[in-house]
Every structure is written in structure tokens, then in C-alpha cells.
Amino acid sequence: MKRNAPHLPTSPVAWTIAAFVLSASPHLLAMPPVLSGLVLVAAGWRLLAAQRRWRLPPGWIRILLSLSAIVLLAISYGGLWGRRAATGLLCLMLGAKMLELFRVRDLRMVASVSLFLVTTQFLFNERLLYIGYLMAGVLASVCALLAIQRFEQGNQRAPGSERRILREGAMMLLAALPVAAVLFLTFPRLAQPLWGLPDEVMDARTGLSDTMSPGSIAELYADDSPAFRAEFEGGPPPPGDRYWRGPVLWNFDGDTWERAFLPSRTPTDLVPPGSNDYIYNVQLEPHERRWLFALDYPVTLPENARISLDYQLTARKPITALTQYRMRSNPDPIDMPQLPETLRQLATRLPADRNPRTREMAESLRSRFGDDRELIAHVLDWFRQEPFYYSLETSPLGRHNADEFLFDVRTGFCEYYASAFAVIMRFADIPTRVVTGYQGGYWQSGGEYLLVRNSDAHAWVEVWLEGSGWTRVDPTAAVSPQRIQRGASSIAEGRESLFDMAWLRDLRNRYDRLQYLWNAWILGFDAERQQRMMRFLGLPDISRTGMALIMAASLGVIVLVVAWAWLRDPRGSRDPVRRAWLRLLRRVGRRGLAKRPSETPLAWARRVAPALAGGDRLVEITGLYNDIRYGDRREESLRRRFTQAAGAFRPEPLGSRRF
């Protein structure tokens, strides 16, 4: 290793930096622009330094720069915990490494850590598009390693070498795919994670949160990414039934709705199966929280999940990777025919000093309607008749937020309606809770699955009624029925008018179908699917050790095949002239007249000619070969004449004639 070579040539440095920048690009985009700018400047500086042969900067500058960058990172992420902060730190370290990238060892380090960066990106996003990122990142790193090796072997100045490096790298990547595929299919998966993930590590805030204050879902509306997909056996449920239950919120402090910590249900305490059950597979995108979404009311429990008293499904671990589970829901049962007194208290509690106008209205309604159902119907009618508007453009509400919304602003979206409606109900002493989750979804008719996007997030209310238990009431439906019937995108007026074209939507839905298959077959390939594949191949249930053995065996087989392909002697040159010449040499050589390495072709032909019948012909053919190979005669006719003549020549020793 050339340890003290101060000036590395441009090629390996440029490839290494390309590998690093490419692998780091998604991380850099997620970082504060100041920091990613710093990293990019460092990389650009190194590239210029390679061309202009600058020396490495003094140590104190490097240390100062790196330290200040790390401090900046810690400030902007509020510490060095969390995956974003950790990968950001890794990017910064590699950026700092750019300033002292002056040895072959450093280049190799950066190129291989780039591979690591590619892997860490998938902790944040595993969408179909990222397969391109994966391939590009690995390709660039392999090319960088090739360029570094080429430099070490001292032949970096070959003409057109960059393109050759790229081609060689692509070849290596292609050749790696069979072995990688076998490993992917047979590597034993963990049914349980090795170690738990502390919740602080989860810092990418996507999806529903476990609290709700009016306005918090608004960000989700702008997020068109899929939240989950559900594949139904039989048709999809009608739009009015597509309420996917998420966190159920009981406690309201005047600003924010929060969960109550209710006991879990035991598996025996679940709803019995019915006749109108929905049976479906959910393919949940990672959202870093524990919610699992299901239709009301789950009959079965997914693995590693529990269900609370209010039918809220939670996984034991945060959902950090695509998760698939099979569900069966019975929409018919009555949730809690009897309401325990503690829960009634919990479901009617309100801060007394808030929303006096709402309180007044609720109390007057209470005195007018003895029946809860009539009261609710009246309030919904009131929503319908008064000028309430559904809009995502909202203004922040103050201390008496229900008052302001119901009597002054009257413009908002589901959270505002759900929260204000729940406040009216509680003032009217009707047990009420707020449910957040998703509502609706797009039915992919080609793929037979329901696509639920993050923008389908919704909030509604459940009231407890004598005789029907907890009953869903959706005040938003009263104001904006099409929100419920046709989905969130139908009421987002003007928001996407520039891009909201039919063909574009169609394209997006088609893409999602691919994404769905990708999720089902690549991302969702887990221990269970692996077992299913083995069963499909005719192998019974296999333990982890058995799986490891199968992996070793199939890996052995595929490596043997690959090794055979690599190590097999090339069948000959691609040049037909050369091939014909080598065949001729072999044929004559079999007669014991092999060409010695020291002989020129013509010298050999002249030496062996006397021993062969038609030896003159051999000399002639060899002369032709000399002309083509060493002369400047490149005509196609001459080449063809040579290959034909060489192919037709049969060396017969003098004296043995065939009759």
C-alpha cells in the first residue's frame, strides 16, 4: 500500500466522492441545509484538490470544522440520539474525512462506508423507487473500489478507463445478483427483533400521533404517501364502513385530546366471528409508532399485537418496516352494552372553565331533548344548516376553541368538527370519545386492494348510547358528505389544481399497484412468507437451523455455478480470425508440431511445413494471418478468406494418406 502518496490522482478520488455523495444524497436532503452544504463543500474541495494538487489542510482547521459541524448537528437535532441524527453524524464524519482523504486506505474506507450509508437510508424509506438508489449507490461504490485498485496496480492512465470501470462495475453488480437473490430468499429471518428499539430512536414523525389538538392532522393531508393497503377477500366494504380505527382519545384538557390508559383485552375477550365479517390483509407502511389499523371490530389479533378495551390495536414494537398482517373484522357487535361508571366519568369529563358559549348551548339542548339520539340528530342538523365549511385553510383557535369554532370561525376540517362536537356532547352529559384513524381509501380495481393514503387521516366521534353501546358519529360527514363518500382528495379544493390531472392520477395509481407488489414480495418477505415459500416448494415447516442449512446448501450450489462461470477458461477470443488461428495451432499441435512460445508464426509454419502434406498451404495461411494481425490489412474479405482457409486446413503427416 502506498502509504505516503500525498497526491492521489483524480480518477479514484472522483469515484469515491461520487459514491459518497450519491449514497448520502437522501440523508443530505433530510439534514439542515447548512450541514449538508458543509458536507458538499468539503467533497467539492477534495475534488478540486485532486485536480490542482493541493495539500491537506492543517490539523487544527480540520478538527475545528468537524467539531463545529457536530455541535451544529447536535443543536439542530436536539442531541445526537435518533436515527436521523446518527446518520447525519455519519455523513458529517465522512464529510470531515474528505479533508484528509489522502491515502488509499482512506479512499477505501469512504467507499465502503458509503455502502453502509445506502443501507441506513432504508431505515427511513423502502419505497420501490429506492431500488434505483440502491443499485446506483452500490454501483458507484464498487466502481470507486475498482478505480482505487486500478490506481494501486499502477495502471490508472489507460485511455477510456472511466467507462471501462463503469462497465466492469456493472458487470460485478450483475454477477452478484444470483448469489444475492439466493441469500435473500433463504437467509433465516428473525420473527422477533434481537433487541428492542427505544422510542427516542424514532424521530421521523409520520402518520398519526397519539394526541389530537385541532390542526394537527393538517400536515398529514399534504402527505400523499400511502399509509397502508388492504387486500379484501371479496369486495371492499362500502365507503361508509371504511373507518380504520387508530388511537382512541378520552382525555381532553381544553386544548388537546389524549389517550386514556385502559386495560388490554385478553384474546378470549374478543368479538366473536359473525356472518358479515370482512377478511383482509393489511400491508402497513412503517410509521414508527405502534398503531395497527383495522376495521371495527377485530375478531382476530395479529401476532405480537394487543388490543385495548376500546379496540385499539397496538404492536409490541414500533412499526419500522413494512408489516403485513391478516385481519378479520365483524362490524355488527355492540361495543359495551353496559358502560361502567368509571368509564362514564372518564368520557364526560371536561375542563369547566372553557367554552362557556358551547356549554350554554349544550345545556339548553339538554333541557329541550330528553333523548340522546334526538339531541345528536339535532346537533348534526344544526351543522348541516348553519354555514359551516370544510376547509384545510384554518386559523389557529384560542383558549375557548370550541366556542370560537362553533360560533365564529365555522371553517375547519375533521379534527375541528370532531373536537367541537365531542365538547357539545360532553357538556350535554353524553359519554363521548374521539377516535382518530383513517377513513376511506382508493379502490385499486386492477390490484383488488384498497389504498389508504396518509391524506385519508380522519377524526370522528363515538358516543355511548343506551342499547347500542359506543356508536360512531361523524360530524364531518354532516358538513361534507363527499369527504366520506369519495375520499379526502375530492374536497381538497384548489390545493392540487395544477397537478390534479386525470392521467396523472391514473399514473400514480398504476405506480402504486407496482409498489403494492413490491411491498408484498420484496419488503414483506418475512419469516412467515419464507415458510410459505418453503411449503410451496414441498418442504414442511422448517426450524431456523433447518433454514440455515438450506441456505448453506443453496448458497453452495449457486456459488459453484457462479464459480464455474467465472473460472471456466474462455472459449476463445471474440475475434474470429484469432479463433481460427488458435484452432489451427491446436490441430497442428496435436500432430506433435506445436508452436514453441519463442517462435514467430511464420518461423513455426516454415519449420513444420516439410513434415506435413500440404505444408506450403500452411505457410501461405500463416502468411495471411501475419498480414491481418501484424500488417495493416483489415479488409473483411481477407479476414473471411483466412478463416475459411484455416478452417479447411487438415494437417496430414507425410506418408499417411487417407483413402
Partner: protein
Amino acid sequence: MAAIPGARASERARRPRLFERWLQRRTRLDLPLTLAYRQIFILPTRFGWLLAILMGAMLIGSLNFNNNLGLLTTFIVAATSINTMLLSFRTLRGLVIRRGGAVPVHAGQAIDYRLAVDNPVERPRSGLVLRAGDARNVFSVAPRGSREVRLRLTPRARGWHKPGRLRIETTHPLGLFCAWSWFEPRAPVLVWPAPAADPPSLPEQGEAQLGGRRSPREEGEEFHSLRRWREGDPLHRIAWKASQRHQTLLSREFRRERSRHVTLDLSLAPGRDLEERIRILTAWVLRADADGREWTLKAGERALGPARGEAHRHACLRALAET
């Protein structure tokens, strides 16, 4: 016959004897040698281990997060590494090392060891490294090509030397694995003794002249060279035509014919010990040859000459090296 110290004698001594014997059995050491499965060893390089550790981290992280794309990346990298292992092996496999040898040099000078290497297949081989100790040479061989690889070895003592165990290795194509083969060419290399730095002048008339008294230069009849005219040169010595050409006065210099025979006897040479006497004798041989004289070398019972010229010099130096 000694091994060249460059071949890391100390390292070999450290290696357990059992391993050494296994190695002996496993390696065919003499030339010509075609590198095959049994002769090729392969291990990850330091960078290879580093990448392995990195891949382990990637694997465990991806498994724990149940992250299939992360796993896929890890597996692609692992598969690439497996491929490079095969490619490193392929770079060596089938390579033919035909013969090695070197032109003799004096002790202390570098041996320019040459190894003839053939590539019998239609595939280029690049990134090959020939090494012995710290000496290394990077080379590549064209498809169906042959080439001569040179290696600088530095012997310290005179005599016949085995080049020792040489190593041909490659980390092609990514530097993850190092494949190598050992071989020990049997053909030894001759190292002449080093000439003494400041030898006494030649022992004229067959007698060693001690004390280094220089014999005065006498003029002879043989034309020797042209030199710049000096005051006192007789007129008939001036080379007029040449002077005109060079625009300055040149005179012809004549010297006595230098073929006077000299006998160089090891036992009569000055010097404290045998080695010093051999060095002085070596210097004398070189001097006598440079002066174009005829000489006889007596070393022990052997007597070479009288003769002159390159062949005689080589014979004498070889005799001195072997003494």
C-alpha cells in the same frame, strides 16, 4: 548456499514447524510451475476484514429492523465479495512461471532477478505482484502473452544464492482478498564478491607490490587517445586535422602496450583476512580487465588463465565467489 536475507528469514523462523511442513507438502516449489488449486492460498486483506465487519453491522441492523432492502444491499455486497474472491483466485490460476534467473552482480549490488511468466488463456491478468520480502513489482500479462518480471533482490554475501521463497500475489479486482502462491526457484543466482573500495595497484611481474606504489606511466608506441595540448608536447604529437575540427590544439597520446601479463594470487594478495583478500583480488581482476591486460588467477588449487576478456573475467569472478 544461503537464502537471500530479503526472504524474511525471521518470519519463517517464527512460523510453527508443522505449518512449514504442511506448506512444503502443499506447495510445489520448483520451476516451471503452473499455479493450480493446490498452490493458491487466499485470505481476506485487512480491508476485506473491515468490509466484513461493516457487512456484519449492516446485516444485524437490517435483520433487527426487519428491513428487507437493507438486507438486499448487504447481500449484494456480500455476493460481490464472494465474486471478487473467485476473481482473485482466477487471476492466479493457470499462470505459468517458466523460469527465473539473474545476471550475476557484485555483493552489495541489487540483483535484477527476472522471472518468465506465461498466461496460457485468452484473458488478461492484471494486478499481479511479485514479491520477496520488501521487494515488489506489480505487473500484468496480456491474453496468451508472456512477459519477464523483474525483482530487485539485495544479497549481502558472495556465492551462489537461492532466490529464496518468492511470492506471487494479487488483490485484483477490489482489494478485498489476497490470493497468493509461493515458489522457490531452484536455479541459484551467482553473486560475485564486492571489489575492494581502494585496492592497491596490480602486482606487476607476478609479484604483489605492497604499499601501493604507482608505476610511472610510460609512453609506448600504441596510440591511446587525443587530449588537449599542453605546454611541452612535441610538435609531431599534435594532431593537426583533429585540432582544426575542434578549433583547439589537440595532441596525440601514446601509451605502452598494456598486455603485460599479471598473475593474481589469492594467497599473495594483501589483506587482513580471506574476505578482504578476495575483495582486493576482485578489484584487481576488474582493473586488469579494464586495462585490457592478460592475467592469471590463482585461488587455492585453481588457476585460471592466462587469458583476457569478458569470459575470463566472468570465470575468475565466479571462482572468487565460490572460494
